[in-house]
Symmetry: none
Subunit: 186 residues, 4 copies
DNA sequence: AATGAATGAGAGTTCATTCAT
DNA sequence: CATGAATGAACTCTCATTCAT
């Protein structure tokens, strides 16, 4: 069993989980090194600083959500109802059953006020998420109303993930997802 | 060498603002000392540790919301619509126009996973907030539905405050408050 | 039950026990205040500094041993054997059954190298102790030999108290006391 | 900014001397850093805490005494008298002419009551020391008496080192060593 | 490319002492 | 006389970062 060389992408993936669990400031480079099986010093071959690593995790997370989650809202040859269902299934798998909630949401509240450089990335996440929802709701509603409803559901979901994180129970975001779907029903 | 006199309640009040702006881990005892006009070591006359100080800020914040905000939902001799209006006005004054959002919500996402001792306090905040809303909605809806709607609006408001913090604009929570009111309209 | 005013002598007595248990540097003024039922600030009405308090405990301890222990070696109208016996009984009561050993011996090893001002006091203790023993042994031995034997037994006793402190068992100093007595037997 | 290279064993050796001179609590990490030519923070690469460093100094001291001093009592092909002589010579070189006395004895009195984790190590030192002496005395005395005599001399020596530390004169332990030898003479 | 050793700054905390009340 | 509040220095320890090897 040869030790597989750690790739940069893998390091970013692992770091994301540690940041998601502990937050940015409560996570030390030692924590990250331990989680990635690297020595502390080796980190600086991949990333010039802790903040740069954070930024990469955000970029990778955003790219992942765009490619693997939000994209599901735009599948051709599938009715909106099913597109929303598959998107929410994927979303749920990523966020509902992990006790640490929404990575991007966590960082928004922890860092938006003190680390403005990440705000555009964070905002993009919410905007893309709302756009995907809005596009689906437009099958049933006027664009303006669909948009408002989409943003409303994004906010509700972030609040639901907050309660889920606090209570340890997935029912909050689950019920929120059910309401998201219901808005497409008759 | 001037010996500044402060009260414990005042220290807690000032510390709350610093924690709200920067988060718990990003705030040093030096930051707190500077904000309170104390020297670092003097803090330990009031609180045995940074964590104990945090807990006191949470307790004081919860007590304040209970006494000064949520209580407005229970005013006798006032129609529900007006009670909700005054409660939301007070709520807005405290949270909408401060760029740092909801203190309790911020700490939920930063600390729920790593500082479980504060979870009951945080939960109480959300529960009281939902109870106040539910009690108002029961003027119009069945208890079960009123309750669900109340929790839904609490979540939406936390999400709205998150977007407000990220965007720097109060319109997100403002519109959420408008929807809260609309649920009581005809 | 009126609260008896703490007297300076009482404070010194209590402080001695805390210093004996924890050593000088490991004992904080808070520890002392707690043990004496005083507030920290009040200490400075009795003693100008922690070090001055230490010195007073040493002086009081030395005075006590002189008046209440070593004096027993000089009782008129009692044979040497009995004088030694009563002195050792008193000595044992003070030191053997307290797990913290010999106060003066403890401070000698902790502070002789860094707080030379207390060295004369400490030395006086050992010198008086040896003189008392020597005077008794002179009933049986030549002065020079009695003196040497006395110092020898003082050293052995300090070593025995060290082992007693480490093991928690009084048998080490007890057997040493038995040997002290044996030197006066036939 | 020079990066001094040191070995862990060297750090332990130097720290032992500082602890021996000043005691554990009176020695700061700054003192240790200065003595070792390291910066304060660098210590924590070698030892997780000041207490862990202390434990290592004790372990190394015990190992040294076993290998380099007490072992001399068991040399084959040498009469007991000479074995004792060489052991005492080595012992004297280490302890008599250093004004800070016996490292293990110092720590016994300073820390036995407050840091119980080191008690087994300390006790092992005294036990090995007594065992080495006892083994030599058994050339002349019955095992039980040899054993008692050995412990007696260990205690006397600790007391002698205490007086040596207090007086600054090596004659106390020197004469004690002479008595140790005398017990093997005709 | 990888790392172990080192670092300076700063973290939270403790301390002996001061002093206005 | 007593004390609660305050202090500045020092404490142990952690951190993100550097760099010779």
């Amino acid at each position: 069993m040869p030790k597989v060389k750690t790739t940069k992408a893998e390091v970013v993936r692992l770091a994301t989980e540690v940041f998601r669990a502990q937050g940015f400031h409560a996570t030390s480079m030692d924590d990250l090194a331990a989680a990635c099986g690297l020595r502390k010093g080796s980190f600086y071959h991949y990333f010039p600083s802790k903040e740069a690593l954070l930024t990469e995790t955000l970029e990778q997370a955003l790219a992942y959500f765009r490619a693997k989650v939000f994209a599901l809202a735009y599948q051709p040859d599938l009715p909106p109802r099913q597109r929303l269902q598959t998107m929410l299934d994927k979303y749920a798998k990523l966020l509902f059953y992990n006790p640490n909630g929404c990575y991007l949401g966590n960082l928004t509240l922890e860092l938006a006020a003190t680390l403005p450089s990440i705000k555009p990335l964070l905002w993009q996440f919410f905007a893309d998420w709302a756009a995907a929802l809005s596009q689906l709701y437009q099958a049933k509603y006027q664009p303006a109303f669909a948009d408002q409803l989409a943003w409303q559901m994004v906010m509700e979901m972030e609040g639901a993930l907050m309660l889920g994180k606090l209570s340890g129970q997935p029912s909050w975001p689950e019920q929120c997802a059910a309401r998201m779907l219901a808005h497409l029903e008759a």
